[in-house]
């Protein structure tokens, strides 16, 4: 029987009450007395020498307080990149300055060039139209291959080329991989594009800067997934504000998907301008600005080779990728195509030889950074696509080929430097075959064919690495931050609990699932426990939420802090009951003495901690509050097997996704309903990438897909009812909850099966042979491929 509270219960998401009734507190809801509004004048060309910004006509316009240009930020640092990549030859990556406002050059459409601060937004926009930019347009650097050719125009004149780095992984494996491919019985090669995406969270980015002269305190309210990271980056690297004078608040955030991890120019601007003008300064992104200023995702061009022996065993994988960085290095851009991508190239398979080469390229486009999955979808997509292509070339069943090559023994050290602690890929594939009713596919195909449609089935596996860690290892790999997390469990006198967590919830349901863990540990009702997050002045520290890390990393810190609290409470209980501490048991919110009928309630103990009249004051301090920092020993490795079934209209190329099934192994699960919801959302985004979403620049660097009129987001009718299952559970071996993370799996695991299904429909049903179609699989592309 399902539990009704605690670990394993599908407790209803308590935060949804305020979200669904309009009571949420989003950054745009914050309006501070005396606030001014900023409008950014953004570049409408992709590449130009910026000779001057003439603000003279705009300065005196109604309501204008001040107009800022790059000159105002001469004493301020650029936006930092958080990960230093060392290339194949031991050289550090090329790292250009990323100014707050364009400095000497315009490098992408949408780059902020000047900022007008006025009483009203309309006044700021009016004045911005009176600013005259003097610039000479340069040829835009858009195509990555062209950008790397000799004589290509340079995005950054002070760099030697448009190559950020040329990364090899593992460089020492290269020769063995080359040899294995040369000697292989069969080599399947696939060239593909992992399409550029715009994250499009429902809530656009917002920043409100505040400055208080009385205590020299800066406050930034911002739409961030990780307020402490923003405080560190902006305070230490950009504006030079010591952390005790800088508070960063990220209240309710309406979706992040990665794009709200990063430190953006608008945040630094509003913080800076608030002090300069001694007035709060607010910016709310329009949707149009979001398209051309939020960091984009993906945008890889890849060639992958899979070598097999005569028995269809995988013997080697070799990949070459061009990864678009855009015009500047966004906060974690450099890590995405490298450590978050190359380390996953073994997938679920015991391929002995793997080599990954990635060239990161600067272009005159919006910076590209992590987007739900971040590197792992790119790895999964190419691997699971090339396996499907190999199966077709060899005439073997794609599921059988995968099963034959599964890793079956754990722990398993891959040739790409990571060690999977647990997993059971056979179990998830078995489960998938059951829930997807693969046995019934042939009959469903006949039904489709009777209607003149083609039906296809696509399957793929995925492996994910979540909760990136440990800090000392990632430090060696170039990370400029630690990747631990922190939590404070504050028990109040009457026994209710506030837990201050470094993770940030922007859709994940932490306010519900985190209390379930504490409730389970102590045995008090979930509604006695609240989560506090998103404010650097309230929580000890935190690296935030991304990479499916919240529960595995911050949840572990919370468990450690709660264990400290319980240990101390047991001491108090032992004193109250005049028993030995070792005999105290905590169950269902009561402390009892083993083997006796003596007990005290949780609330009696907590009250004693704060009203310590009968209390061992000589041995322990009053109060009941503990903090823990937790630095994981390893990544966690969720995995799964997905199946997609499509029906294709051969006359129009239109594809309808009829069925989608996901069998995931997330280790232990706190709230199955929330996990299912995360998987649903991830699959919707994966289907969006596979079928609909494509961010397109023309040769001049104009963003053609700059609005919802041309950038297609998935809608309810584009996705089927999903069948998801997470009953296969191999708990993580190295964190206290045995959890693995589930936030990104759907987005990582779904695109290959969608594409595999469409190609199966074409190749199995139409008499036509199509090896590959690049995403998004729009009707026009599918139809063209079939001609």
């Amino acid at each position: 029987m399902p539990k009704d509270s605690g670990i394993g219960a599908s407790s209803k998401r308590r935060e949804d009450v305020r979200f669904l009734t309009g009571a949420g507190n989003y950054t745009d809801d914050i309006n501070i007395h005396g606030q001014l509004h900023v409008h950014f004048l953004r570049a409408d060309v992709a590449h130009a020498t910026l000779n001057g910004v003439d603000t003279s006509a705009a300065e005196g316009m109604p309501g204008v307080h001040r107009i800022f240009t790059a000159a105002d930020f001469a004493a301020v640092g650029g936006l930092p990149c958080g990960w230093l990549i060392t290339d194949r030859h031991g050289q550090p990556m090329q790292e250009p300055k990323h100014p707050i406002l364009a400095e000497g050059k315009i490098r992408h459409v949408g780059e902020p060039v000047a900022a007008v601060v006025a009483d009203t937004l309309a006044q700021a926009r009016d004045a911005a139209e009176a600013i005259v930019l003097d610039y000479d347009v340069l040829p835009a650097v858009i195509d990555m291959k062209a950008a790397l050719q000799d004589g290509a125009g340079r995005v950054h004149d002070d760099l030697t080329s448009n190559l950020c780095y040329d990364w090899g992984f593992v460089e020492d494996n290269k020769q063995a991989v080359d040899d294995a491919i040369k000697g292989a019985a069969h080599v399947t090669t696939l060239e593909l594009v992992n399409n550029r995406l715009v994250a499009n969270p429902m809530e656009p980015r917002v920043a409100v800067g505040e400055y208080n002269r009385s205590d020299d305190m800066h406050t930034l309210h911002t739409t961030s997934q990780n307020p402490h990271v923003i405080r560190l980056l902006m305070g230490a690297f950009v504006l030079g504000i010591p952390e005790h004078k800088l508070r960063v608040v990220a209240p309710d955030v309406g979706g992040g998907f990665g794009t709200k991890i990063f430190h953006y120019a608008e945040e630094a601007f509003c913080t800076f301008a608030a002090k300069a003008l001694n007035r709060p300064v607010k910016w709310t992104s329009t949707r149009s600005e979001a398209f051309m200023s939020d960091a984009h995702g993906r945008d890889h061009v890849t060639k992958i080779e899979l070598a097999l022996d005569a028995d269809n065993n995988f013997v080697a994988v070799r990949t070459e990728t061009l990864a678009n960085m855009g015009a500047y290095l966004s906060t974690f851009a450099s890590s995405v195509p490298t450590w978050l991508h190359g380390t996953l190239m073994a997938g679920n398979y015991k391929t002995p030889h793997i080599y990954v080469n990635v060239k990161a390229v600067f272009t005159n486009t919006v910076p590209v950074d992590a987007y739900r999955g971040a590197g792992r979808p790119e790895a999964t997509f190419q691997l699971e696509r090339v396996i499907d292509k190999a199966a077709r070339e060899l005439g073997v069943d794609p599921i059988k080929l995968r099963r034959q090559n599964f890793i079956t023994e754990f722990p398993y050290a891959t040739p790409v430097a990571v060690e999977y602690d647990t997993g059971d890929y056979v179990a998830t594939m078995d489960k998938l075959e059951e829930i997807a009713d693969l046995a019934g596919f042939a009959a469903r195909r006949k039904e489709s064919e009777a209607k003149g449609k083609l039906r296809g089935l696509g399957v793929n596996c995925y492996i994910e690495a979540c909760g990136i860690a440990p800090s000392n290892l990632v430090g060696q790999l170039g990370a400029r931050a630690g990747l631990y997390d922190a939590a404070t469990v504050r028990v109040n006198a009457t026994g209710s609990i506030s837990v201050m967590v470094g993770a940030h919830s922007h859709g994940q349901g932490h306010e519900t699932s985190f209390p379930q863990v504490i409730s389970e540990m102590i045995g008090i009702p979930e509604d006695q426990i609240d989560i506090v997050h998103g404010d650097t002045s309230k929580i000890p520290f935190g690296m935030g939420t991304y990479g499916s890390r919240s529960l595995a990393v911050c949840g572990s810190a919370m468990v450690r802090a709660a264990e400290k609290v319980i240990n101390k409470a047991k001491k108090i209980a032992a004193h109250l009951m005049e028993a030995s501490e070792g005999d105290i048991e905590l169950k269902n919110g009561r402390f009892s003495v083993a083997g006796t009928d003596k007990s005290v309630a949780w609330g009696d103990v907590t009250l004693a901690a704060y009203v310590p009249h009968n209390y061992p004051l000589t041995d322990i301090e009053p109060g009941l509050e503990e903090t823990a920092f937790y630095d994981p020993a390893n990544f966690t490795y969720p995995s799964g097997a997905y199946a997609c079934e499509v029906e294709l209209d051969p006359e129009t190329g239109h594809v309808k996704i009829e069925r989608f099934s996901a069998a995931d192994d997330f280790g232990n699960i706190i709230n199955p309903m929330i996990v299912s919801g995360q998987v649903h959302g991830g699959i919707a985004q994966g289907i969006g990438q596979a079928m609909l979403e494509g961010c397109v620049y023309d040769a001049d660097g104009q963003l053609l897909s700059a609005s919802y009129m041309d950038y297609a987001m998935p809608r309810a009718e584009d996705v089927p009812f999903y069948t998801v299952d997470h009953s296969c559970q191999t708990p993580c071996t190295h964190n206290p909850l045995g959890v693995k993370g589930c936030g990104e799996a759907g987005a990582i695991g779904s695109p290959p099966s969608v594409v595999n299904a469409v190609l199966d429909a074409i190749n199995s049903g139409s008499g036509k042979k199509v090896a590959h179609i690049d995403m998004p699989l729009t009707p026009a592309r599918v139809w063209a491929a079939m001609q």
């Binding site: 309309a122 006359e651 129009t652 009129m709 041309d710 297609a712 729009t778 009707p779 139809w783």
Partner: protein, 262 residues
């Protein structure tokens, strides 16, 4: 958005006067308002037709034509014509989403003449008459290309009169992002022949596919269209489909419309 004045006349006469005085007609605003918000237009003064009762509603004239007031919303057309002209009602019922259909109007759509709008196909295939404050214009003379019409400066549509065909159907293949037609075809079968109008496809806006009309007038079946092709030359090419694809869809969607109507 730039600052603007707005007038809200309640009679056609006052509306025409206000527009003649330099106002921009606003009828539903499903294109105009987003254009204003993006600061792509600065009309100074808007004249809302929303309060002009004589521009609203549906009736039938002595010739049996359905007469739709220019300021009638898509939702109203979808509802009111469900029995009398289901083909056109179905077109109206599938424009945009409920919010669009409850604000957007037939007059606004035809005056704007977006090359991917639905109503131009319905009006042209039906052989409708566009009535303005000064004259009546046959649909065949009304559509002049992308966003271009026969309307003069200060002339506004007051009513659209639709002859009711024996059979009709509208088949729409949507552009995945905007949900406007990538290619959509309205087929109308009258006693004296068949009319086929295609929207979304051509650089010159809505057009009649006369070869298909001739073939269907003698044999109203999808098979009659076998072998007929639309010349891809004047098709739109963009992110969502090239010329060849749009030309191909013209034939596919016409066949489907015929099948649906027959």
């Amino acid at each position: 958005m730039y600052a603007f004045e707005i007038e809200r006349p309640t009679t056609l006469q006052d509306a025409v006067a206000a527009i003649a005085g330099g106002g921009q007609a606003l009828s539903g605003g499903q294109t105009l308002i987003p254009t204003l918000k993006a600061r792509l237009a600065d009309p100074g003064k808007l004249v809302s037709l929303h309060g002009v009762a004589e521009l609203k509603g549906v009736c039938t004239d002595d010739d049996g034509r359905i007469c739709i007031g220019a300021a009638t919303t898509h939702a109203t057309v979808a509802r009111e014509l469900a029995g009398s002209y289901p083909g056109l009602a179905s077109l109206a019922a599938r424009i945009g989403d409920p919010a669009v259909r409850n604000r957007g109007t037939i007059g606004g759509s035809l005056a704007n003449n977006d090359p991917s709008a639905c109503y131009p196909a319905g009006a042209l295939a039906s052989g409708a008459t566009i009535v303005t404050n000064t004259r009546e214009i046959a649909a065949d003379d009304y559509f002049h290309g992308m966003f271009a019409t026969a309307l003069e400066e200060d002339e506004i549509i007051t009513e659209v009169k639709f002859p009711v065909p024996r059979a009709a159907a509208y088949e729409k293949f949507i552009q995945p992002a905007s949900r406007f037609p990538l290619v959509a075809v309205f087929v109308a079968k009258f006693d004296d022949g068949v009319r086929v109008a295609i929207t979304g496809a051509s650089e010159t806006g809505v057009f009649r596919w006369t070869e298909a009309e001739a073939a269907l007038s003698s044999d109203f079946s999808a098979g009659a269209l076998d072998g007929l092709r639309v010349d891809p030359d004047h098709m739109i090419a963009d992110l969502h489909g090239d010329k060849a694809y749009r030309a191909h869809l013209c034939a596919v969607m016409t066949k489907r419309a015929v099948t649906a109507a027959a």
